[in-house]
């Protein structure tokens, strides 16, 4: 019930956002790919910060609380109103509603990478080239930096990043004599070995998660989405997608995946008691393990993401968020000043120190960062593995400009495949059809 309500709401909200998208892009399609030129210099931003004012930030990222406090100490005349209400889809619904209503829009909003294109195309968030954001080239790791781009336009600054890695329960692996898999073939073999040895233990859980699926296809080389302005192509029939569905279908058929929904209490329980032995997930995971799975302290380790061919070094991004300045903001310069402080300036270090996984190369390559020992991970210097993963993210991926909606209906199309009622490849085809239909209804040219 709750799900269907949220679904309804989300659908309504994203159609509002996209109605705006359709109109906006037809009005001035001429300069859609051309970036705005710099009109506000760094000196102007600094002057605005000194002059002071007040901005509102909608963000759920916990490390921002300290960043805001530090920022206000440094710029006492600026008041940052940090509002933490709702994460993910709740946030996007609220943002789309406020934008549609034209009141109550925050100056800055946290938006996950997969959702940013939707707000970018809807002209809900501002092109940061006005502030010379182009000069930040090289400041961020390639994965997140390309995620905030749409053509030459830059719609947000990366706040964190989620290069994928393999988190595994070493205790379970040792108990059943399982080697850490380096390829997906070995991973599938380990899955079978583990589940045969202990029918109550699975290599991982998956009951259908659009974010995970797209990240896995991304690593496998699939590029199902191609976006050029309002021209969109969706095709899950490519080789990369089939590589992943082949592997995962085999594991589903042999019932090697625990049917436990991610982020549920059962999931946290499974991570703690050995029911779920590995997670292929973004590098931001350690703080969540530390906070949510205290029982398994010392048992988990991190290894590179398994590869499709032995010796390869390819990863993809999973999750991660940007901060974006809203088009409706009356204090864009001030907002940009805070955003830069939080993502590039002192805030980047502060947030890394608090456990966030940085998107900035300076923090990522710092010796202190790499040599940090994680007591939870048995003293492992996990950032060595994770920082390397960040440098191996495959290029050329894009999300749909209506990915928030698409992800919300993923389980309607593909969900059956996880319980054996259909196949992943058929499910993805159905998802493709649903997404195509929705995109066309919103005024996109979808093929």
């Amino acid at each position: 019930m709750e799900l269907s309500r949220r679904r309804l709401l989300l659908g309504a909200a994203s159609s509002l956002a996209l109605l705006a998208a359709g109109c906006g892009s037809s009005d001035d399609s001429g300069d859609d790919t051309k970036a705005a030129s710099t009109t506000v210099s760094d000196a102007d931003v600094e002057a605005a910060l000194q002059a002071g004012g007040s901005i509102t930030v909608w963000a759920w990222e916990p490390t921002l609380t300290k960043v805001v406090a530090d920022f206000q100490t440094k710029y006492p005349k600026v008041k940052v109103n940090l509002i933490k209400n709702g994460s993910g889809n709740d946030q996007y619904t609220a943002l789309a509603n406020a934008i549609k209503a034209g009141t109550g829009v925050p100056d800055l909003a946290q938006i996950e990478y997969f959702a940013l294109p939707q707000f970018a195309l809807g002209k809900s968030v501002a092109d940061l080239n006005t502030f010379g954001a182009k000069s930040l080239d090289g400041t961020f790791t390639p994965g997140p930096w390309s995620s905030v781009h749409s053509g030459d336009k830059i719609y947000g600054l990366p706040m964190d990043s989620g290069p994928m890695a393999l988190f595994y329960n070493k205790e379970v692996f040792d108990k059943y004599g399982i080697q850490v898999p380096t390829t997906w073939e070995e991973y599938a073999a380990a899955a079978e070995k583990l589940h045969t040895a202990n029918p109550k233990s699975w290599i991982t859980s998956d009951s259908g998660d659009a974010g995970f699926t797209t990240s896995m296809i991304w690593q496998a080389g699939g590029r199902p989405y191609k976006v050029d302005g309002t021209d969109v192509t969706i095709n899950f029939d490519d080789d990369g997608t089939k590589k992943w569905t082949g592997l995962w279908q085999g594991m589903i058929d042999k019932k090697l995946l625990a049917p436990i929904p991610g982020w549920s209490d059962a999931w946290y329980k499974g991570l703690g008691d050995g029911t779920i032995a590995t997670l292929v997930i973004g590098a931001w995971m350690p703080p969540n393990l530390e906070s949510g799975v205290k029982a398994a302290s010392g048992k988990w380790r991190v290894a590179p993401m398994p590869q499709w061919a032995s010796g390869e070094k390819v990863t993809s991004e999973n999750g991660g968020s940007s901060l974006a300045v809203t088009e409706a903001s009356q204090s864009k310069t001030l907002a940009y000043g805070f955003m830069k402080y939080a993502t590039v300036g002192d805030g980047a270090q502060s947030r890394t120190d608090q456990g966030a996984f940085p998107a900035t190369t300076a923090q990522l390559n710092a010796e202190a960062f790499k040599s940090k020992e994680f007591p939870y991970l048995g003293g492992q210097k996990a950032n060595e593995v994770l920082a390397e993963a960040a440098n191996q993210v495959a290029t050329g991926w894009s999300y749909l400009p209506f990915q928030v909606y698409a992800n919300s209906v993923y389980n309607d199309s593909v969900g059956k495949a996880y319980t054996g009622g259909s196949t992943l490849q058929d499910g993805l085809k159905a998802w493709q059809d649903t997404s195509t239909k929705y995109g066309q209804e919103q005024g996109f040219t979808v093929k």
Binding site: Y268, N288, K294, A295, A356
Partner: protein, 302 residues
């Protein structure tokens, strides 16, 4: 509320069951079904209570329907009230405020309107009534976004009014009060009161309200529960954590488990939920007497 009814309708007396004792027939199947229903109703509550006595670790690592490890109920309660600078208490206060103003106001409005529709003939009465019946059928969820846009125009989103004003309109409660008014307030009493020269408001408050009190309490309880449990509307309307009702607050605590770097506090979510239902249960037990008699009104042809 029932202290001063000067006239009791004879009709209601007649509706009482006959005083002659009847032999109670035992029905095993009925007992069995009732027992199953009882267990079905109480199990989640038992789970909630038992879970609230566990620490975060034991909560996930133990069987749900029995106690395990340290009895952490009081520790959990203490942490619930102090977590995030004690915002839980503020949320609880907000909910009470929304309930008193929202549910109280809704009950008053629907009693006035229900009585008016039942006892006064005026042009367009049938149309108004049809509109209300139609409104009962429209799920509030469907109106959420339009209401938000409307309120945004009026500039009252993210204020207490955004929660209170929609809570005041409860078509179902109005319908209930219409039924109660029609059946529990005989026209003869109203007419004799008018003959005696009483004004309409005096008749309403001195005569009708006492007669309506069982129905009024039923409608009040209904409105209290709906307002107390309201999640969807505040979720859309409110951004300021300090204005959250308890439901939305607990929801955001639960959501923390699903965000990067979020603090996982399932134990506080559960303890907070347990504490949040205590006032509701208390209200039901205290008002049970009125509520039970209210349920029967209109069920017997007088």
């Amino acid at each position: 509320m029932v202290s001063a009814p000067t006239i009791r309708p004879q009709a209601r007396r007649k509706a009482q069951p006959p005083a002659t004792p009847r032999k109670r027939t035992k029905s095993w199947s009925l007992t069995a079904i009732t027992t199953v229903m009882l267990i079905y109703t109480l199990l989640p509550l038992a789970w909630l209570f038992i879970s609230a006595t566990k620490t975060q670790d034991n909560l996930l690592g133990s069987f749900g329907l029995w106690f395990h490890g340290d009895f952490a109920l009081f520790d959990n309660i203490g942490r619930t009230f102090t977590y995030q600078n004690g915002i839980y208490l503020r949320w609880l206060g907000n909910t009470v405020f929304y309930v008193v103003i929202g549910a109280g106001g809704a009950t008053l409005l629907s009693t006035l309107a229900g009585y008016g529709l039942a006892k006064f003939a005026f042009p367009g009465r049938r149309a108004v009534f049809a509109l209300i019946l139609g409104a009962v059928a429209v799920p509030p969820t469907a109106l959420a976004i339009p209401t938000f846009l409307l309120f945004a125009k009026a500039g009252i989103t993210d204020t207490v009014w955004a929660v209170i004003i929609p809570s005041l309109m409860v078509p179902f409660s109005l319908y209930l009060m219409w039924t109660f008014s029609r059946d529990a307030v005989p026209d003869e009493i109203l007419e004799s009161a008018r003959v005696d020269g009483a004004g309409e408001f005096r008749i309403f408050f001195k005569l009708a309200v006492p007669l309506l009190s069982p129905g009024l309490v039923t409608a009040l309880l209904f409105n209290v529960v709906v307002t107390w449990n309201n999640l969807f509307l505040p979720l859309i309307m409110l951004k300021d954590r300090n204005l959250f009702p308890i439901t939305l607050g607990i929801y955001t605590w639960n959501q923390q488990a699903q965000t990067v770097g979020g603090d996982v506090v399932f134990n506080l979510v559960i303890t907070g939920s347990l504490l949040a239902i205590v006032p509701l249960i208390a209200a039901f037990l205290l008002l049970q007497r009125y509520w039970q008699s209210g349920l029967a009104v209109g069920s017997v042809k007088q």
